[in-house]
């Protein structure tokens, strides 16, 4: 894997993040599916370049559209790291690995994202989840934990589905393109 190819694959991953999100919107799906490019880059290039893809994805989208995306690049980077390490150890073509990825990310992503969301938005999202947040907050009196718990369900759905989607997608790629993902449970 030479450097030029890494550069172009990172760029491709960033674009796939954007296109993945656009397609989910076009089909009116209830999940975002906007980190499939990061996951793909992580499977093909490994965890560190995958994390870079995730981080740059948010930075570039922030600089060219809405800058409030930028700090959440850390969350996207975490996705790259987790998926990348899992792919290196186990490949990403069986039915268990995406489950592990989805569950781990369903906890890690809100863990990293909640402090940012609390600092910038007081834990509020502007969406329906805020009702859940308010209820838990009133009951527990803890801002961080309430925001964290409120974010888990949506993250669980999004990350699990994205992970399984990536597994199906990787299976449909020709072997030459799979990178680290070519390792299947042997």
């Amino acid at each position: 894997m030479n450097k030029r190819l890494s550069l172009t694959l990172i760029s491709a991953g960033i674009v796939i993040n954007i296109i993945g999100g656009l397609l989910a919107q076009a089909l009116k799906l209830p999940i975002f599916l906007d980190s499939i490019g990061t996951m793909l880059a992580a499977v093909i290039l490994g965890p560190w370049l995958g994390a870079l893809t995730g981080l740059l994805s948010n930075v570039l989208q922030g600089v060219f559209t809405d800058p409030v995306n930028i700090p959440f690049g850390l969350v996207n980077a975490v996705i790259g790291l987790v998926v990348g390490f899992l792919a290196m150890k186990r490949g990403f073509q069986d039915y268990i690995t995406p489950l592990i990825a989805g569950l781990v990310l369903a906890v890690l992503c809100p863990l990293v994202g909640t402090p940012i969301a609390v600092y910038l938005f007081g834990g509020v999202t502007g969406g329906g989840i805020d009702v859940v947040y308010a209820v838990i907050l009133k009951a527990s009196g803890k801002i961080f934990s309430s925001a964290f718990l409120a974010r888990i369900p949506a993250n669980l759905a999004d990350k699990l589905l994205s992970a399984y989607l990536i597994m199906v997608i990787i299976k449909k790629l020709p072997d030459s393109m799979k990178g680290y993902g070519a390792k299947s449970a042997q």
Binding site: K171, L173, P174, D175, S176
Partner: protein, 497 residues
């Protein structure tokens, strides 16, 4: 076979070049020997998968540095071993480019060669005049047409300023006059600057007056064509046509008809006042230059676009409220690029998909898919991954996935863009076999040879309007109609008339 190797002190000299890709025993290049002088223009023709692109990639130094492969033999340029610093290559797919701004796409190699921005601007101006893209310098690549992008790609290759210039099928999307102009400029450029210019293409009709040497490559072996005959196969291939009587387009026999269809994108683009019938048992052609409105017309056939005025009828019924995926039951379309649609990891599943999404039981669908591959004589690819096969085979897979749904009407969009003669023949034979007795075939093309060889009736379209219609044989004998479409200078036409 009898290439006499001249001991040259200048120029390109290739000796014993052979290539195998990893994991395959196929000899992609097989003991290639030839030499060219500086300032010479050379055409190399060959079918898809003949080794043309691999040869250029090897000459450019892409193999083995970027593309893994076992390369043996010697490539000498001016008596020095040629490395990646000696050649510039324009790749076959001009829809792949680096930068969004046209200027930067051409300037990038110059900036990498450490020219200052003023020197770069000067050189870009000269090169863009040569390749006919001067007016496009301020634009964005994604807004250009396919032909314009190809010209920019040629300009970028020239900007690399190497002694060996390699152009892989560089004019597929040009109109005939543009091709002659560009080839003329390139020949002068090569001659004046003492460059070796190698151009590959599927046929060599444009080599007349341009090429100093002419070669053909087949199965990896290179042979020189010494006395080229610049002609197209003109014989009407009677066996390609189903023997049916051509109706005169009365309502009962038309499967699809357009009545006064107009669809305007802007002042100058779109189609207007289109009246067309595709009749049972006929093969109809739609011919016209690039940008004439053929794609727009095509999209109306299947409901991807709806008319602003007029109506599109299927067997007399207006289709305006029927969604695209329902129209697909009657009309099957073979698009130019199989990679726009192939997404399964096995050929049989991909072919069966068109049936399974209509609700057919998966097992039955896969059986039908395997049957049709059998009839193509291609049952060895049944379980293979489509992307491990060549693009021509993927085009066959796309064709099979349409034929297996047994549509009433089959529409082929620009089949010659990616197919060579052999594949078109196979395609037309299969279509003949699978087409229902009352079915219809529509072929849309900018290439007159395919319209002449395979259609009974045709429509000429130009500037969004029908310029002529009737039996193919009579249309082709009408020089005025052809001239209005700019097709009179196409080598096939000039040979015919």
């Amino acid at each position: 076979m009898d290439n006499i190797l001249l001991k040259q002190s200048t120029g390109l000299s290739v000796t014993g070049l052979s290539l195998k890709y990893p994991g395959s025993d196929k000899q992609v290049l097989d003991d290639i020997n030839f030499s060219l002088n500086m300032g010479e223009v050379c055409f190399i023709t060959g079918a898809n998968s003949s080794g043309k692109s691999s040869l250029l990639a090897a000459l450019a130094g892409l193999i083995p540095s970027s593309i893994p492969g076992e390369l043996t033999g010697k490539i000498l340029l001016n008596n020095k071993v040629a490395d990646e610093l000696s050649a510039s290559l324009c790749i076959q797919d001009s829809d792949i480019y680096l930068f969004e701004e046209v200027y930067r796409e051409i300037a990038y190699p110059l900036l990498n060669a450490s020219f200052s921005s003023e020197e770069t601007a000067d050189k870009v101006r000269v090169i863009s005049e040569l390749s006919g893209v001067k007016e496009l310098l301020g634009r964005k690549m994604s807004t250009l047409s396919g032909g314009e992008r190809q010209k920019v790609a040629i300009a970028a290759a020239l900007a690399c300023d190497k002694e060996l210039i390699l152009l892989d099928e560089p004019y597929e999307q040009f109109d005939p006059c543009s091709v002659k102009n560009i080839l003329g400029s390139l020949k002068r450029y090569a001659h004046d600057n003492k460059r070796v210019l190698i151009i590959t293409s599927k046929r060599y009709e444009y080599a007349d007056g341009i090429a100093d040497r002419l070669f053909n490559i087949e199965n990896g072996r290179l042979t020189e064509i010494r006395n080229p005959v610049y002609s197209y196969p003109h014989k009407m291939r009677a066996d390609a046509l189903p023997k049916k009587t051509a109706q005169t387009g009365d309502e009962d026999s038309s499967l699809i008809s357009f009545t006064n269809v107009t669809h305007k994108f802007s002042e100058n683009s779109g189609i207007s006042g289109i009246n067309i019938c595709f009749n049972k048992g006929e093969i109809t052609g739609i011919m016209g230059p690039n940008g004439a409105g053929k794609t727009t017309l095509l999209k109306h056939c299947i409901g991807l676009l709806r008319p602003h005025e007029g109506s599109v009828l299927y067997s007399g019924k207006d289709i305006k409220d029927i969604p695209v995926n329902k129209l697909a039951f009657k009309t099957g379309m073979l698009f130019q690029n199989p990679d726009d649609q192939i997404f399964n990891e096995r050929a049989d599943i991909e072919i069966a998909w068109g049936l399974t999404i209509r609700g057919m039981n998966k097992k039955r669908a896969v059986e039908k898919a395997v049957n049709i591959l059998d009839e193509f004589g291609m049952n060895q690819i049944v379980r293979m991954h489509p992307h491990s096969l060549s693009r021509s085979v993927r085009q066959v897979i796309a064709l099979a996935s349409v034929l297996v749904t047994e549509p009433d009407i089959l529409i082929l969009d620009e089949p010659t863009r990616t197919m060579d003669d052999r594949l078109i023949d196979v395609t037309m034979k299969m279509i003949k076999r699978y087409l229902k007795i009352d079915g219809a075939v529509v072929i849309i093309s900018h290439d007159p040879s395919v319209i002449w060889n395979y259609t009974e009736r045709c429509y000429l379209i130009n500037n969004g309007e029908i310029a002529a219609s009737g039996y193919t044989e009579s249309i082709f004998k009408e020089p005025d109609a052809l001239k209005s479409c700019g097709l009179d200078s196409h080598p096939f036409i000039t040979g015919l008339l």
